[in-house]
């Protein structure tokens, strides 16, 4: 597969330790396939994900960034994902406003029991990023002519 010239996106997935990272583990132990383009970074909670990290990933060449956390109401720290939800909503809206293609960012709530959801989500997200192609705009935002 990797031999041809097919576009291989760089995708960063931030996963909270308690739900989504465990959900990703479950996807693994259930042998549910998703593309190797996805690389997971473990964070204690979705509320640890600074919008700066996401912008950083884009600036360094990521084509898509997804954040996964516990379902609202089920946060290990009670309220972390509620703050994360607001932060990401505003960030995504700002990215859209800047003309960054919709869909390069995503938030999905994945519980520790949702291995299937994790892998389905990753498959969908990779498909979406592949259809969008390489991310040039965010890396290019302040390039002087």
């Amino acid at each position: 597969m990797s031999m041809n010239n097919e576009f291989r996106p760089k995708i960063v997935a931030f996963c909270c330790n308690w739900c989504s990272y465990a959900g990703a583990d479950l996807a693994g132990s259930s042998r549910l396939q998703y593309p190797a383009d996805v690389k997971i970074i473990r964070v204690p909670c979705s509320c640890r994900v600074n919008p700066m990290f996401i912008l950083r990933a884009f600036e360094k060449g990521a084509d898509g960034v997804i954040m996964c956390g516990c379902h609202p109401g089920d946060c290990h720290y009670s309220t972390g994902n509620y703050y994360a939800r607001r932060r990401m909503t505003l960030l995504f809206s700002m990215l859209e406003y800047l003309g960054i293609e919709n869909g390069r960012t995503r938030v999905e709530w994945v519980s520790a029991a949702e291995g299937v959801k994790f892998s389905t989500t990753m498959n969908e997200f990779v498909d979406k990023i592949r259809s969008l192609g390489e991310n040039v705009r965010l890396g290019d935002l302040r390039c002087k002519d």
Partner: protein, 662 residues
């Protein structure tokens, strides 16, 4: 720069079959900062860990990266190995190349490339790791058990027998739970009450056990070893100290039309009631929705007849606040609602009942005093049809995907008991599979078929139609004979799926304990930590974790108790050192971090700082390490970047991002 040792695990063929571990070693050896890199068959083995010790000594390593299974699996193992090698345990990072790589990819080249990138990210992170030191927190030597069924009672008894105080919170007026509603138990056919009541009495009499019935958990704060819980004692309208349990009030109560919860609505109870005769405590409650005094202000008969003067209409809910070191959830189950299953005519005919309702019918204290009779006309049935898997093992959204586990056995029990007591009654059971794994279970089922002549038909019931003569027409398929059959029955009993008690959702949220898509509480590890919630200090007992029969429930209740005891036996707990930390030179003192902290772990103080020669008094944030649980909400809220999370610092995460995107 750290001197990093990287260890790549084969995990037998689990990793090595998909990831070219030799190639990973070859590439990673060239990474800056990597002073040592090797692969090994099983890094978690004694020999694997010895390799870490050896390399740390020989190469003077300061940081370790293990490319292996999930950190949720062996991070602890490798941290301990690092500690034995003289390193700080927090100088270890795991690259998860099994669950997140070898197990989900098939192409070796791709998987190897990804494994290298994951290793680089871990190397980039460990480069910025700093030694961390856990703090200590105290343990309150008292346990809370939520739920007073057999699971909760057994857990409480075991913890109390070990010498620790235990409180049971039960939402209904009596402990006893579902087991108290059962008539006989499989596979020995003991009378349920005969084996449960002594346990209830023992729990009530135990000097270390406090029972809060008609009470609910209102609020939970704190963390392992140090939970603070608000228990709402709902207004019983009875002074528990005065009531003698004589029962006169219940006899005299003129409001007797409320469906009895205990008898599953098959008969009624008075507004002032105890759910059943052996209730503990034997103190009634007034159901204020049904009570004439509460509805109209008139009546007050119970107050007049109560010799002890125990009736108190003015009573209000009371909040008891108590501290606990451990919490055991034992919230049990209920049967599912059958609204989605119109084909069984459950809502149309009183002669279609659930198995739990049949338990009440068969019970001498039940609505029919134990006589097997049709609830519509009181006639003795000639033919009873049992339907298995009603709402269990369901592929559509009407029911539950899982097997309720207990139905095959209790149906065999019901069939056998009926055939034993009423040899004239014909019994037919429709099943998909008969599942009887358990000690003496299959023998029990075979006796039902062979000795008691119960007619088992493999097939599903498509429709139950009430007939004008009062009988029920059962249409079903017989899969073994491959034909459609129609049977005339007098009663149909539905082996209704069980589901976690609906109260568990609220409780799980309060405890921040995770639940699965079916609302069963999730265990920390499906095989190795089956009675622990992933949330520290929370343990699982009984059906709240998954369907179970009584012996399994009692076994798990004991296991949960032992885990709780193991926690309570400690005087101090080591706290997670991955806590937030504020740099006082960068802190604005703006309070935004405290606003988002769920634990109240951040306070402010005015300190004199020396900021590059400028000495001034500043308001700065202080993190209480015993309270901080390390979520990191504050770190993102902090505009200046003064607040950072140890072990997951901004620079560490950015280094991982950079390594992945490079």
């Amino acid at each position: 720069m750290q001197r990093i040792g990287v260890f790549v695990c084969h995990c037998g063929s689990n990793i090595a079959a998909t990831v070219d571990v030799k190639k990973v070693v070859e590439i990673i050896s060239q990474e800056p900062g990597v002073a040592h890199c090797e692969d090994y068959q099983y890094m978690c083995s004694e020999a694997g860990q010895a390799k870490i010790l050896e390399a740390v000594k020989e190469k003077n390593l300061s940081g370790i990266v293990v490319c292996s299974c999930s950190p949720r699996m062996h991070e602890g193992t490798f941290r301990k190995a690092a500690e034995r090698a003289g390193l700080n345990p927090y100088m270890v990072e795991i690259a998860n190349i099994r669950e997140h790589c070898s197990w989900i990819h098939k192409d070796m080249e791709e998987a190897t490339e990804k494994a290298v990138i994951l290793a680089r990210a871990a190397i980039a992170k460990v480069n910025l790791n700093a030694p961390l030191y856990p703090g200590e927190s105290r343990v309150t030597k008292r346990a809370l058990v939520i739920g007073g069924g057999i699971a909760g009672i057994q857990t409480a008894l075991d913890i109390a027998d070990a010498g620790y105080e235990v409180d049971i919170v039960e939402k209904t007026p009596s402990i006893g739970g579902r087991m108290s509603q059962l008539d006989k138990t499989f596979p020995t056919l003991d009378c349920s009450a005969c084996i449960l009541t002594p346990k209830m009495v023992e729990a009530a009499a135990h000097e270390k056990i406090t029972i809060y019935t008609y009470s609910e958990v209102d609020k939970v704060t704190g963390f392992v070893g140090d939970f603070t819980v608000d228990i709402r004692k709902k207004a019983r309208s009875i002074d528990m100290d005065k009531c003698t349990g004589c029962g006169v009030c219940q006899e005299k109560c003129p409001s007797k039309k409320t469906p009895s919860e205990f008898n599953r609505g098959l008969n009624t109870r008075s507004a002032i009631y105890t759910p059943f005769a052996q209730a503990i405590p034997n103190v009634p409650v007034i159901d204020r929705e049904a009570c004439i005094k509460f509805k109209t202000g008139k009546c007050g008969l119970c107050e007049k007849v109560c010799q002890a003067g125990a009736i108190n209409y003015e009573q209000t809910d009371e909040i008891v606040t108590e501290k606990y070191g451990a919490i055991v959830v034992a919230t049990g189950f209920d049967t599912i609602k059958l609204d989605n299953y119109d084909e069984y005519a459950y809502n149309q005919s009183p002669d279609v009942i659930t198995s739990l309702e049949l338990e009440r019918v068969m019970n001498a204290a039940g609505p029919t005093k134990g006589h097997l009779e049709r609830l519509s006309d009181g006639k003795h049935p000639e033919h009873i049809v049992f339907v298995q898997c009603v709402g269990s093992r369901c592929n559509d959204n009407r029911g539950k995907s899982y097997c309720s586990k207990i139905c095959c056995m209790y149906t065999a029990k019901h069939a056998m008991l009926i055939r034993d007591k009423y040899p004239d009654v014909k019994v037919t059971v429709f099943y998909i599979d008969v599942r009887t794994p358990g000690k003496n279970f299959d023998e029990f089922y075979r006796r039902a078929v062979e000795e008691y002549g119960v007619n088992y038909i493999k097939g599903q019931v498509g429709k139950v139609a009430p007939q004008s003569d009062g009988s029920l027409l059962v249409q079903a398929s017989d899969l073994l004979d491959n034909k459609q059959i129609k049977l005339k029955a007098d009663m149909v009993v539905l082996a209704t799926a069980i589901e976690p008690d609906p109260s568990v959702r609220r409780i799980a949220t309060m405890l921040t304990a995770s639940i699965d898509t079916n609302n069963f509480l999730t265990e920390s590890h499906a095989k190795l930590r089956p009675v622990e919630s992933p949330t520290a200090g929370i343990f699982l007992s009984g059906v709240c974790q998954g369907p179970k029969d009584i012996p399994e429930t009692v076994a798990q209740a004991g296991a949960a108790a032992v885990k709780a005891i193991g926690l309570l036996a400690k005087d101090k707990l080591l706290t997670n050192p991955c806590t937030a930390k504020s740099d006082e030179l960068l802190c604005n003192g703006c309070s935004v971090c405290a606003n988002v902290c769920p634990y109240g772990a951040i306070s402010y103080e005015v300190v004199q700082v020396n900021d590059h020669g400028i000495r001034e008094d500043r308001r700065v944030a202080r993190v209480n390490n015993a309270l901080c649980q390390g979520c990191g909400a504050c770190t993102v809220a902090c505009p200046s970047g003064a607040m950072d999370l140890q072990g997951f610092s901004n620079r560490q995460i950015i280094a991982e991002v950079d390594a992945i995107c490079r």
